[in-house]
């Protein structure tokens, strides 16, 4: 593209921002930057503009290259929440695309400033995740220089394998478990107690109870990254730091993951609306932008007859339009602030809308045969959400540390409905065992549903 187009676009940013402000959006300032497509692709691969090195990103990078080569995906923008937010726009975007994307970015900025999940995360992780991630990357680079690639990779193999295993219901910065079990409340030397004691001298508490060590963990612990970092018998402090760095980034990724449908829908709703109201956009650019909009929010099934996946932009956009139409923008803003995808889909994807959009539930056999199921709204909700439970990962908790230091992990197959993939689980245990430095045991169920124990080494 020519640099003229980029300058043209920049002259619109302020006017779009003013229009967004007048329309009720409230957002932190956003830094816009046009970057080459290659860099856009890397942001998509890493999830952050600068992130720690690891070979697994290299694999994703190659897949992304292949995809792009086959013309499957094109990225217009990536935006990072924060104060200020950071928006990266592909420098190959035309003027119309950039105008649309700018409005879209402001929709995201509004969402990330006001949605509760995002707000809580930013309070904990800070409003500068981009900078934090860059400093993690630097810290890990230094570790590589000090301890060598091999050792750092061993730690990253384990930490990144567990990246989804955090507990967002607990704070990012958690204290260790109490070392002793809670003591019985200190006995108050009051009249009642004296009278009580006088009834039967043998029943009176002696006051010399031995403090009992609390078991570790005191309850099944879902935050495996935190648990390993805090309780691994012989982990070095730089290794713990790497685990905690990965964990912090996971805390950042969680809201992005758990609000994808809402968030993309919200941004699409606002780019469409702002564009309609932006009388300062020239006619041709407006038409081009509208076309681009309809490409973005198009159902995947548009040119085929049936699709077995759903475009979250399309679904979210359609739902927000319905909500605003039926309940008004203020109600919509309330929903945007309070829900995540779970509440959003369950509460606001109605039967009528599902029918209108032609959504359906299906079962797919491993041989590729697909069968469309009866209409069932609740079932449809769960089918849409099933890949999102527990950060998209199986429910694995740390349940016990044996006296020889062996770590026991337990997979909750009752929640997940089936057992783990055994081969992959073994490999993960191998990774974990190398940083835990004691045996690691995992309990799950096999195909027949009977309990199975995997051990590493």
């Amino acid at each position: 593209m020519s640099s003229d187009a980029s300058e043209d676009w920049k002259s619109y940013i302020q006017r779009i921002e003013e229009l967004a402000g007048r329309s009720g959006l409230s957002f932190h300032p956003v830094d816009f930057e046009a970057v080459p497509d290659t860099f856009m692709m890397e942001i998509a691969v890493y999830g952050l503009p600068v992130r720690m090195p690891h070979w697994s990103f290299g694999v994703r990078y190659i897949y992304q290259l292949i995809q792009r080569h086959m013309g499957h995906s094109r990225l217009f923008e990536v935006v990072f929440p924060g104060n200020p937010g950071h928006a990266y726009l592909a420098s190959s975007n035309g003027l119309a695309e950039n105008i649309l994307v700018t409005a879209h970015v402001l929709g995201h900025a509004d969402f990330s400033r006001n949605n509760l999940l995002f707000r809580r995360c930013q309070e904990q992780v800070s409003e500068h995740i981009v900078e934090h991630a860059a400093s993690h990357a630097r810290q890990i680079q230094q570790a590589i220089e000090t301890y060598g690639m091999q050792r750092v990779e061993t730690v990253l193999d384990a930490a990144l394998a567990l990246e989804q295993h955090i507990d967002v219901d607990r704070p990012l910065r958690r204290p260790r478990y109490p070392e002793y079990e809670a003591e019985a409340k200190a006995l108050v030397d009051d009249a009642f107690r004296k009278r009580f004691a006088s009834l039967d001298p043998t029943a009176a508490p002696t006051g010399l109870e031995v403090r009992k060590r609390a078991p570790v963990p005191p309850h099944p612990e879902r935050d495996l990254l935190w648990f390993v970092a805090n309780y691994a018998p012989e982990m070095e402090s730089w290794e713990r730091d790497i685990f905690l760095a990965v964990r912090e980034e996971s805390f950042y990724f969680y809201p992005v993951f758990a609000t994808q449908i809402m968030n993309e829908g919200w941004a699409s709703y606002w780019h469409a609306r702002l564009l309609r109201e932006a009388d300062f956009v020239p006619q041709q650019a407006y038409l081009d932008a509208i076309k681009c909009h309809s490409d973005v929010v198009r159902p995947i099934a548009a040119d085929q007859q049936v699709a077995l996946s759903i475009n979250p932009y399309h679904l979210g956009f359609s739902m927000w339009e319905k909500i605003v139409e039926a309940e008004g923008i203020d109600a919509a803003r309330n929903i945007m602030q309070q829900d995540d995808d779970f509440g959003f889909i369950r509460n606001h994807l109605t039967r009528d809308l599902a029918d209108e959009l032609g959504l359906f539930r299906f079962t797919a056999r491993s041989d590729g045969q697909v069968k469309v199921l009866e209409h069932d709204l609740t079932g449809l909700h769960e089918a849409l959400l099933s890949s999102k439970y527990n950060f998209g990962a199986p429910t694995v908790s740390a349940t016990h540390v044996r006296s020889d230091g062996t770590l026991e992990l337990t997979h909750d197959n009752a929640i997940d409905g089936r057992g783990l993939d055994l081969e992959r689980s073994r490999r993960v245990l191998d990774y974990v065992q190398r940083v835990w430095r004691r045996p690691v045991v995992l309990t799950t169920v096999n195909q027949a549903g009977s309990t199975l124990e995997l051990t590493a080494p």
Binding site: E33, E42, F57, G358, G368, Q369, V370, G419, R424
Partner: protein, 386 residues
């Protein structure tokens, strides 16, 4: 509210450096490492000698970084969109291409295969390290001569030794980024340098004697061929000038070129002494045992005709006095007879008289390395003893 970006001239860091490519290279390195660990198995069966190529191609899959995943269900549920009525049954078009890996919640990564190319020289180096094979010691020698070898770079040098790639790198380093019109200065130019290095002056010749009688199957010959190939590589590591002589025999013997040698198949019986006699003849004609290290490797299924025993022993004993080492590898597809054959006994007898000779029963491709290791360590021991 956009910030003022630095002017267009200021190069952005991400234009100079691709993290994706860096991590990809690391992945590549890891794949190579793991291939290296399994190299003996991989290369033993592979067709390594095609067209005299100095590289081996190994197909590998991309590494997977493992996460906890649920077992793949027999039947999965999902949500779709489009014109479909309850009860409709159709087949998933995305699954018809083949077994694409689509885990629960995972992304479809399909099957991407990489073809890694390894230099045969590198492989030999790794293997010698990995298997801790001793380097050969020459019997004749140790006279040395000096010669020039390429070593290092300098800013000055003869034009013919200009290293363009290296010079271009210097240009890039100096300019910070490759511009539209790179212009070299003298500073950038790098010339390959030569250094004087001592090299063993001696040279060696290896005789490969192959039994191609009717009892040797295609597989037997391929086994022998694979074994011979790695023996040549090992010897080449030590001798800069290594000559190879290929002789095949049934009841008669012929000398072949390398490319013909492995295609040869014959019919009829086995008379080992004819092959040995042919080797003798070639040595007398072309090689002086005092100036040249002679190695002989013989591959056969061991079924020498009984009437040939005396002749074969005689020939072999005479060869042993001139050769640095004589090795016998018995290839047999069937059950291992553990060298309990005519020829096997012959070599055992020879070794017991203190000759530098060894035998190995080779039944399987996985065993090729065992054979190589056996001969190279035995050879070394034999030489140290002498």
């Amino acid at each position: 509210m956009s910030t003022d970006n630095p002017g267009p001239d200021a190069a952005k860091w991400y234009e100079l450096f691709s993290r994706g490519a860096r991590d990809w290279l690391r992945h590549d390195e890891k794949v190579r490492e793991s291939v290296r660990q399994h190299l003996p198995q991989i290369v033993a069966g592979g067709d390594v000698m095609n067209g005299g190529a100095r590289t081996v191609r190994v197909p590998v899959r991309m590494l997977e970084h493992y996460h906890f995943r649920l077992r793949r269900p027999e039947e999965s549920q999902g949500a779709g969109q489009g014109k479909a009525k309850p009860g409709d049954v159709f087949s998933d078009p995305s699954k018809q291409r083949g077994p694409g890996e689509k885990g629960p919640g995972g992304h479809d990564e399909g099957e991407v295969q990489l073809l890694l190319e390894f230099k045969v020289d590198d492989i030999v180096d790794w293997l010698w390290e990995e298997m801790q094979l001793p380097n050969l010691k020459a019997r004749v020698g140790p006279s040395e001569e000096t010669d020039y070898v390429r070593e290092g770079w300098d800013r000055r040098g003869a034009r013919s030794r200009l290293d363009r790639r290296r010079s271009f790198k210097e240009l890039v380093k100096r300019r910070g980024a490759p511009g539209a019109t790179p212009t070299f200065t003298d500073e950038d130019l790098r010339f390959r340098q030569l250094a004087r290095r001592k090299q063993p002056a001696i040279h060696a010749v290896v005789f490969f004697l192959l039994d191609v009688s009717g009892s040797m199957s295609d597989r037997d010959r391929k086994l022998a061929k694979t074994f011979f190939f790695w023996v040549v590589q090992g010897l080449r590591r030590e001798y800069r000038s290594l000559e190879t002589v290929f002789v095949a025999h049934t009841t008669e013997a012929w000398e072949f070129t390398e490319s013909e040698f492995f295609q040869v198949s014959g019919t009829g019986g086995t008379v080992t002494s004819t092959g040995l006699a042919k080797v003798r003849e070639i040595i007398d004609e072309r090689y002086n045992p005092n100036r040249c290290n002679i190695y002989l490797f013989y591959a056969s299924d061991g079924d020498n005709s009984v009437s040939d025993a005396t002749d074969a022993r005689e020939q072999l004993t005479s060869l042993c006095t001139d050769a640095c080492y004589t090795g016998y590898v018995e290839v047999s597809s069937g059950l291992s007879r553990q060298l309990a054959t005519e020829t096997g006994r012959l070599f055992a007898e020879l070794a017991s008289t203190g000759c530098a000779a060894g035998s190995y029963a080779l039944n399987d491709f996985e065993d090729v390395w065992g054979a190589v290791r056996h001969f190279f360590t035995a050879e070394n021991r034999a030489l140290e003893g002498s």
